[in-house]
């Protein structure tokens, strides 16, 4: 006999009316947001890896029998890194293949530049940038295959093997600050697995963002599964009473939720695909993206759609266990859903472990820190509903106004539901607390207005100083040039012999000085403070960027979650709201109660998680010997303000719905 599940589900879905359709649309909307956010973060993670791989050719594997010499240098213009790859074909050796992005191996004197660098060369005076390269009539163009980002500044310069820029002294640890910014090797091709300094940490950082966003997306999907729960429970309880088996009930729910979830998730996936060009324009690390880098591929796309659909389905089915267990399950749901003390016990044990690990002022290992973060994360998932329950009871005891009393009683009536509503933003608060102070402090003031030139020895340094004064005077830069020996570790030279030019006047002057001093020294490019702090700054910048992106997306998810849950509550409770309004209860009281039942736990719990995030971040900073960036406080403040505004907006979004569902008091039949 043919199963009645599918036709009956379809019939009930079609006949559920406008409000049933509203619930389904809201659920689908939640699924769409969840799928979209996860796809964006996965795309960023995979894309960061893909584009980092595109930088590997700049430090190819060495080959003793190679055919060419490759030297990597990094110089800075307008504080942005400019990667210079110098290539020299070795005489008498077979021709070296073309590097990625070029049609042929560059001949001596040829200069290829990335489109972004070409634009900058056109924009800036030659004495600030172009004069760092051999003079050419026209520049060749590096294709996308050789670039990680359309915004990347890269130059490939064809040279003779004997030129200073190709010498051993030009790279290979000439400066304490080189740290993957300079390298040299004899090569026979461009295969390598070594990613550039400026992209190496991108993927790991985005992975943290993915992990932090995963839970809010799960919450959002679960909320979507619960949308219209009351309507569905009543309907299916009636079916159960009419003789439907628990299996049929669960199957019908699963089919409906899966269909709605899949439709929503597919919509989110389509939105992701449609918005790829716009997403690619969002800068991260070295700049914007090539659209193809953010394409996750059909496998990931399908996996995310399937995962979000599965989450919604499981959530919807789990809500019906009570109905399935007993036909009177809904009617008998009389007692408030209390939370147990075991939650607070587990939380206290977790916090005790944390304090025991961090007590005594000792620094934590990376593994301990990760464990600590997971503990914080998990503990709050247990602790949250308990706090909401107690909060509801305390506020309920002292509430003087009806709206506050209603909100408090609702909190203690269903603390898990209230927790789910706010958990997204509570976790966003955790992320904000964690990342906003995780700005590991790179000292950016010590070597300001300085340009360093490395020389082979102290005698050369004195000679170089004289030449530097001449070169700088020629381009109109007023500078104080000092000579440093090999013992001057506390300088921009970091212990290398050379000269330091003190160049007041800002970025343009520094760029002009770097350009003017390029011919000097051992072939190692002159450098400024940007070069010395690049390693730390790369980490700092990535953390800041990922934290901003994670926060922004967390707010998107959490706001959607809160808004949808608020709307679902209005739909599920429309009868009682309608009758209260009919009996003269002002709409604003109902509205205030709805707002307070969200804002109360948000304020208490978001504050708690934010403080924990700050503490965890403080420990992380301590572990890497860094100081906390106080400017993070501003970011945190902005986060809280945006969170509050988003929450009010999300709840306010369902106000017209509340007005509409309570505006028809005469709907009862005569």
């Amino acid at each position: 006999m043919r199963s009645p599940v599918l036709p009956l589900t379809w019939h009930l879905a079609r006949s559920s009316g406008r409000r049933g359709l509203q619930s389904q649309l809201l659920a689908a909307g939640a699924a769409a947001v969840g799928a979209f956010v996860m796809l964006v973060m996965i795309a960023a993670c995979l894309g960061a890896g893909a584009r980092a791989d595109r930088t590997a050719w700049r430090t190819p594997d060495a080959d003793r029998n190679g055919t060419a010499v490759q030297a990597l240098a990094t110089t800075y213009v307008r504080h942005e890194p400019l990667t210079v790859v110098s290539l020299a074909q070795l005489p008498g050796r077979p021709l070296t293949p073309a590097p990625p992005g070029l049609d042929a191996f560059p001949k001596k004197g040829e200069v290829y530049v990335s489109p972004a660098l070409a634009a900058l060369l056109h924009e800036l005076p030659a004495n600030q940038l172009a004069d760092r390269f051999p003079r050419v009539r026209s520049y060749g163009t590096i294709g996308a295959a050789g670039l990680a980002s359309p915004d990347e500044l890269v130059a490939v310069v064809g040279r003779a093997p004997s030129e200073p820029a190709m010498s051993r002294t030009a790279a290979e640890g000439a400066s304490y600050y080189d740290q993957d910014q300079a390298a040299r090797a004899v090569v026979s091709g461009f295969s390598s697995a070594k990613r550039s300094l400026f992209t190496a940490s991108d993927q790991a950082m985005t992975l943290i963002g993915v992990v932090l966003l995963a839970m809010p997306v799960v919450v959002l999907s679960a909320a979507a599964g619960r949308l219209g729960a009351a309507r569905r429970e009543q309907r299916l309880a009636a079916l159960r009473l009419a003789g439907a088996t628990p299996r049929q009930i669960l199957a019908m729910t699963a089919v409906e939720a899966a269909a709605v979830g899949a439709a929503g998730a597919l919509t989110g996936a389509l939105a992701y695909v449609a918005l790829l060009p716009a997403l690619a324009a969002i800068p991260y690390g070295i700049g914007s993206w090539y659209t193809g880098q953010l394409w996750v591929g059909p496998a990931w796309l399908s996996a995310v759609v399937a995962a979000v659909t599965a989450l919604i389905t499981v959530s919807a089915v789990s809500m019906l266990r009570q109905v399935a267990a007993s036909p009177l399950g809904v009617a008998q749901q009389a007692n408030p859903r209390r939370t147990r003390w075991i939650r607070v016990v587990v939380f206290v044990v977790a916090v005790g472990c944390i304090f025991r690990s961090t007590g005594g002022g000792g620094q934590l290992t990376a593994r301990q820190l990760i464990g600590l973060l997971v503990l914080f994360y998990g503990a709050f998932w247990l602790f949250g509903p308990w706090v909401v329950d107690r909060l509801g009871r305390i506020v309920g005891r002292f509430a003087r106004r009806p709206a506050t009393l209603l909100a408090a009683r609702r909190l203690s009536d269903d603390p898990r539901g209230a927790w789910r509503t706010v958990s997204g933003l509570v976790l966003a608060g955790f992320a904000a607390g964690f990342f906003s102070v995780s700005q590991i402090g790179a000292d950016t003031s010590q070597y300001r207005d300085q340009v360093a030139v490395i020389t082979a020895n102290a005698a050369d340094a004195r000679q170089a100083a004289t030449e530097a004064r001449t070169l700088l005077g020629r381009v109109g830069v007023t500078a104080t040039v000092t000579v440093k020996g090999e013992d001057a570790y506390d300088s921009l030279l970091g212990g290398s012999p050379g000269v330091i030019a003190h160049v007041p006047g800002g970025t343009d002057r520094i760029d002009t000085a770097v350009t003017a001093l390029t011919p000097l020294g051992t072939g190692h490019a002159p450098y400024s403070q940007d070069y010395a702090t690049a390693y730390d700054r790369t980490v700092v910048d990535r953390i800041a960027e990922v934290s901003t992106a994670t926060l922004a997306l967390s707010f998107v998810v959490a706001t959607a979650s809160a808004g949808l849950t608020a709307a679902a509550n209005v739909l599920d409770r429309r009868r009682v709201y309608g009758l209260l309004r009919l009996a003269g209860t002002p709409l604003r009281i109902l509205d205030r109660a709805r707002t307070r039942e969200t804002v109360l736990p948000l304020a208490v719990l978001a504050g708690g998680t934010t403080a924990m995030g700050v503490y965890g971040s403080y420990q992380l900073n301590k572990a890497v010997g860094a100081t906390i960036d106080t400017s993070g406080a501003l970011q945190l403040l902005a986060c809280v303000l945006i969170g509050a505004l988003a929450m009010f907006a999300a709840i306010g979004g369902s106000r017209p719905l509340l007005r509409r569902v309570t505006a028809d008091p005469a709907r009862a039949a005569d």
């Binding site: 009389a334 509430a399 009393l405 309004r581 009919l582 009996a583 003269g584 209860t585 039949a669 005569d670």
Partner: protein
């Protein structure tokens, strides 16, 4: 009869359908009026019009001689909150509030401090046979108990008129009889008027008068002598 609430020439149309076609009705102090009629007859529309929930297309509604059908929504809302009480078939109690707070809610909405509101609410529990149920939530009450809590909530503001829309529709016959007996007697003791819509003749028989409504018109008006 000292008239509390009156409707004169009440007309209400929904598109081409006439729900009320010039109805006249009066209710006095301690008076109880049952409105009966088949489905779609206009009985609920009449109750909602008298209660200021629906604005009539024609005619007037007077509460103690003052017109109320032309008041703004806010004043009507305040009127319903402070001078009317409502008992519905089911689902009017907030499930998360204990019974005493459900009863106290209208007083709190009127500005009564919470402690006083709850104290006043508790006074209604014994007369309505709800002693000991003050802390229970609606889900922990039987249907009859929940309706008695609803009656307490309707009466706690000491209204001029109590409107009841199928108040026993979800109850069994014995419980129905008990609830409606309490509703009429307590309302009368309070000096309030009662306007009740019901389809159950036994329930209607507890009222002083019965209006039969059909096609938006009063077709029969009977009067009982209640002992």
């Amino acid at each position: 009869m000292n008239t509390v609430l009156a409707g004169h020439g009440l007309v209400k149309k929904y598109g081409s359908t006439t729900a009320l076609a010039g109805v006249d009705v009066e209710v006095g102090e301690r008076d109880s009026l049952a409105i009966m009629g088949p489905s779609g007859s206009g009985k609920s529309t009449l109750l909602h019009t008298l209660a200021g929930i629906i604005r009539p297309d024609g005619g007037q509604v007077l509460l103690r001689g003052d017109r109320i059908d032309n008041l703004g929504e806010n004043r009507l809302s305040a009127l319903r909150r402070g001078r009317f009480g409502f008992v519905f078939q089911f689902g009017q109690l907030l499930p998360e509030l204990p019974a005493e707070e459900n009863v106290a809610l209208p007083l709190m909405l009127e500005g009564t401090p919470r402690r006083q509101a709850v104290e006043r609410a508790r006074r209604w529990f014994a007369p309505l046979g709800l002693d000991g149920l003050e802390k229970r939530r609606p889900g922990q009450l039987s249907g009859g108990q929940a309706q008695r809590v609803a009656i307490a909530r309707a009466l706690v503001v000491e209204p001029d008129v109590v409107f009841a829309d199928e108040p026993t529709g979800a109850l069994d016959q014995n419980t129905s009889s008990e609830v409606v007996r309490l509703l009429t007697s307590v309302t009368r003791e309070q000096g309030a008027a009662l306007v009740m819509v019901t389809h159950d003749a036994d329930v209607a028989a507890h009222c002083d008068r019965i209006l039969q409504v059909r096609d938006g018109r009063i077709t029969h008006h009977s009067q009982y002598t209640v002992a």
